[in-house]
Amino acid sequence: MSRIIGITNQKGGTGKTTTAVNLAASLAVFERQTLLIDCDPQGNASSGLGAGRHCLRHGLSDALMGRVEMGNVIVTTELDCLRLIPANFRLHRAAARLSAAPDGHRRLRRLIEALPQRFDYIILDSPPSLGLMAIVAILASDWLLIPTQCRMFAFEGVRHLLMQVSNLHKRYGRDIRIAGLLSTMPEERPGHRPAAERLFRGLKEDVIQMEIPRDPLLGDAADSGMPALLCDIHSPGARAYMRLAAALIRRNQLT
């Protein structure tokens, strides 16, 4: 059974797409059949894997609007075990149609469940909002991984997100759990106890807690349209995502 993990945070610039791309690539390197679904109309996850919008005929929007079968919009990537369902700006229109359709919020989940191919992991890259497309992505997920900076504004955003998740559970009866929190873009401030430590200390052991170090290669790799591990697998950022993938795999083996 596929494990569906949504990478979500309503705030922009927290490292969602970077996490989605590099986590998916790391899982693929561990030879787990992985599908990355780009749910963000900006399409950055698609670009991050080299699938520019100009060379794609169909994307997630076409599957959501019923024009094409979901399985037919899957594209291959440079990694054998990694597939991609790309997004483009038309996803905005698809989201608007979903909002008018009954049960539109469940459509992505149903399409994923109906996929003919079997994947070990399905990673969803959510848009930076709590609009319909973000809600659809959250409702399609079994687990949520939340990248966040360790600053007050960021924590307040996470709190709001968690409250929304709780509301979604009550409203739609979906059992969505928090897989982990990632501290991204940590600041080096001598003499200050790292805020990430305080955050992680309060979490139980079954919630993944990891710090993703600042690494210029993560941005450079995205600019080049590839995951960081294909540029330099020894870079701190690439290694951090490999560790995250290993932690996820280890945890899933125990449950």
């Binding site: 968690l162 559970h169 928090i178 919630v207």
Partner: protein, 205 residues
């Protein structure tokens, strides 16, 4: 009429006490212990119990710890030590080095007592309960007695104080303004606690 859940208040108090423990100056406590007893602080310290108490008509925080011997610290809301007691003796508290190291402990204690009315009155002698307090500094407290009442030294519980004197918070003494960092850490701790609770409640469903 209840306007909030009792466990909500209690869990917030618990968070407050845990956060205070995190921010204690352990180096100063270690120095005081080393002066008082001829052993280094090599052993794991575990907090046994914390409580908000009233000490000489002021709100204070009382914590009990295990350091392979019993240690009791009471300090006020400015962080000034009011009582420092080990299981071996019920003597007056040694001062903690929190600032100027050039003054002798006796001079510091005298200066502190001169300026702070809280310290002018010597605390009552702790009645020694032989079942809890032993002469052996390396004795660990029986875990079965973890919830046993530690004899108070001129303290009373906050509940009792509020019952008898509901204005206890009306005129707080003047405390120095918090610096930016302390305020930031406090807010951060509070928010982080909320996040942990939310995640627990989501994952627990």
């Amino acid at each position: 009429m209840r306007i909030t859940a009792a466990d909500s208040i209690q869990s917030r108090e618990k968070e407050l006490l845990l956060n205070i423990i995190d921010d204690l100056d352990w180096q100063a406590i270690e120095r005081a212990l080393a002066r008082k007893l001829p052993l280094g602080l090599r052993h794991a310290i575990t907090s046994k119990r914390g409580d908000i108490v009233v000490y000489a008509d002021r709100v204070a925080y009382a914590f009990n710890f295990d350091v392979n011997l019993n240690l009791r610290l009471i300090f006020d809301r400015t962080g000034r030590l009011l009582e420092f007691k080990t299981a071996q003796a019920s003597e007056a508290p040694p001062p903690l080095d929190v600032g100027d190291d050039s003054r002798s402990p006796a001079a510091e204690k005298k200066a502190a007592a001169a300026e702070d009315p809280l310290l002018r009155t010597a605390p009552e002698q702790v009645p020694q309960d032989p079942k809890i307090w032993t002469d052996d500094p390396f004795a660990t407290v029986d875990r079965d007695r973890e919830d046993a009442e530690i004899p108070s030294a001129g303290t009373r519980s906050l509940e009792d104080a509020l019952r008898n004197d509901p204005d206890i918070f009306e005129e707080p003494p003047h405390f120095p303004a918090d610096d930016l960092e302390t305020n930031r850490r406090r807010k951060m701790s509070r928010t982080v606690s909320e996040l942990s609770s939310l995640i627990e409640s989501i994952n627990g469903k």
